[in-house]
Structures are given as structure tokens and as C-alpha cells.
């Protein structure tokens, strides 16, 4: 699918989406360039349409995905994202797991604060993305990497 070798992540987060959820259509995409971010936005949009998300929820999820993908690229030095559809009973959702083997996040509280940035941006990426999805989780180890999980449920 891409010319990149699967990164050998030193950092393997032990994070499962949600207890009791059935995982369907798992897919992994690389995140090594701007074009990959655009591709991810397109694929996430298609999945959200397939699950009949409303237009606002589609837009929120795609925007959150774009923010976190940029972080993976910019701060994590690239990585990959796993896309999964989740089912709990009749409830459907989309789970995105972003993993990089970059430097990790040292001060999580500050990283999540609006307006704080270490990279010259606006500092809205993490905190903003958290507001746009239903479930948000970060797992990070300094020097080893970062994993960010986003879940949006169909309303």
C-alpha cells in the first residue's frame, strides 16, 4: 500500500477500544506526509458516511482525525493510524488509534491545555480534538512514543 516499511514501534500501547465492543473492518494507514493526512481524512469521511453519521458528526470526527494526524506527523515524526468500526449491541462507532514512536509527551496536562504549544501552532490540536469526539485517550511514554485513541459513536 505504501513504500514505507511498517515501523517497528518500540512503543506498543496496551489499549483496547472498549470492553465488549465488536471490532470490524480494521485497517491501518501510514502517516508520514501531508498527503497521508489528506488520505486519512478521506477514508475517515467514507467510513462515517457508511455508518450513516450525521453531517456534523462526520465533520467533527474528520477534523479531530486531521488534528491528531498532524501531531503524529509533526511531533511524533510520523507513524501510523488504525481505523476500526466498533459495535456494541446496536450502537455503532468509529475508533481511530494513532501511534508514533517519537519523543512522547512529557507534560500531559499542559499538552491538553488550549493555547499551549511546543511547535509554533495554535495549541488547539489535542484539546480541540478531545472536544470533538466522544471518547479520547492518550497513552504516552517519554522517549518511546505516543498513542492517541479517538472514538465517535453514531447518534
Amino acid at each position: 500500500m505504501s513504500g514505507y516499511a511498517t515501523p517497528a514501534f518500540a512503543f506498543t500501547p496496551n489499549l483496547l477500544p472498549i470492553a465488549g465492543a465488536v471490532v470490524q473492518q480494521s485497517q491501518t494507514l501510514p502517516l508520514h506526509s501531508d498527503e497521508h493526512v489528506v488520505m486519512l481524512r478521506k477514508v475517515v469521511r467514507e467510513r462515517a458516511i457508511e455508518l450513516q453519521f450525521g453531517l456534523v458528526d462526520q465533520t467533527k470526527l474528520v477534523t479531530a482525525a486531521s488534528e491528531i494526524a498532524r501531531n503524529t506527523l509533526k511531533y511524533g515524526g510520523g507513524g501510523e493510524v488504525r481505523l476500526q468500526n466498533l459495535m456494541i449491541g446496536l450502537k455503532a462507532g468509529i475508533c481511530l488509534t494513532f501511534v508514533d514512536d517519537g519523543p512522547g509527551i512529557v507534560d500531559m496536562e499542559r499538552a491538553l491545555t488550549d493555547g499551549f504549544t511546543s511547535g509554533g501552532g495554535l495549541g488547539l490540536g489535542l484539546g480541540g480534538a478531545r472536544r470533538l469526539v466522544d471518547d479520547f485517550e492518550i497513552c504516552t511514554a517519554p522517549g518511546e512514543g505516543t498513542a492517541v485513541i479517538l472514538i465517535k459513536w453514531k447518534r
Binding site: D34, E35, V37, V38, R41, K42, R45, L55, V56, Q58, T59, K60, V62, T63, S66, E67, R70, D114, G121, L122, L124, G125, G127, G128, A129, R131, L132
Partner: protein
């Protein structure tokens, strides 16, 4: 290299963004627009984002910065055609595009620019 076209109409510059912009493309547009404002002595810039189904913090920042740069170069910027779902998402994200003039469509945007140029 991929570029977003900028059209000149009198003292106005018109940009219609019709592709899903990656970050480099957004930065190129910002550079091109500021160059053209000076070269064409433009007084107004109209950015039509009606075809954009996503404005994230990077694109939002590009729009804000472009408007600020245009202001310093004596031109007014109006952003038109934002989709409602994009507006909802943008504000929830924490971006309110303070200082950026907006209009619902191109017609209203041009009217706003012409009004601001008459002053």
C-alpha cells in the same frame, strides 16, 4: 507544483478553494495571496470555502493569518460560504476566526468588500 488559482477582478482577488488542502498547499496559497495583493494593488480578497468540508486548526490559522497579512497590506479579506457543519466544528475546536470578515455567499462577500473599499 500544485497551486490554488487566484483570479483578479478589478481591485479584488478571488480564491475558490475546491480541493482538500494539505498543509503545504495552504501555506503556498498564503504566500501567493500576499504576493498578489502587492503586485495587483488589490484592495479586497475574497476566499470562497463553500467546497471545503473541513477546516481544521491549520487551515483556520492560515485563513486568520492571511486576513491579518492582507490588512497590513491595506486589503480587506472576506471569507464566504462556510458550511454550517464546518462552522460548528470550528468553534467547538476553539477557533473563532476573530478579526476575519465573513459573508454567506460570494455575492454578499463582494458587496461587503465594495462597501469597505468606498470608505
Amino acid at each position: 507544483m500544485e497551486r490554488i488559482p487566484i483570479l483578479r477582478m478589478g481591485k479584488l482577488l478571488l480564491v475558490t478553494i475546491q480541493v482538500d488542502m494539505h498543509d503545504r498547499l495552504a501555506m503556498t496559497l498564503q504566500d501567493d495571496l500576499t504576493d498578489r495583493i502587492v503586485k495587483d494593488e488589490a484592495k479586497g480578497v475574497l476566499i470562497d470555502i463553500s467546497a471545503l468540508d473541513l477546516v481544521d486548526s491549520f487551515i483556520g490559522r492560515m485563513i486568520s493569518n492571511t486576513a491579518a497579512m492582507a490588512r497590513v497590506l491595506d486589503a480587506t479579506t472576506v471569507v464566504v460560504g462556510m458550511q454550517p457543519a464546518v462552522a460548528i466544528t470550528l468553534v467547538e475546536l476553539g477557533l473563532t476566526l476573530t478579526g476575519v470578515k465573513t459573508a454567506l455567499n460570494v455575492e454578499k462577500g463582494v458587496a461587503l468588500l465594495e462597501k469597505s473599499m468606498r470608505r
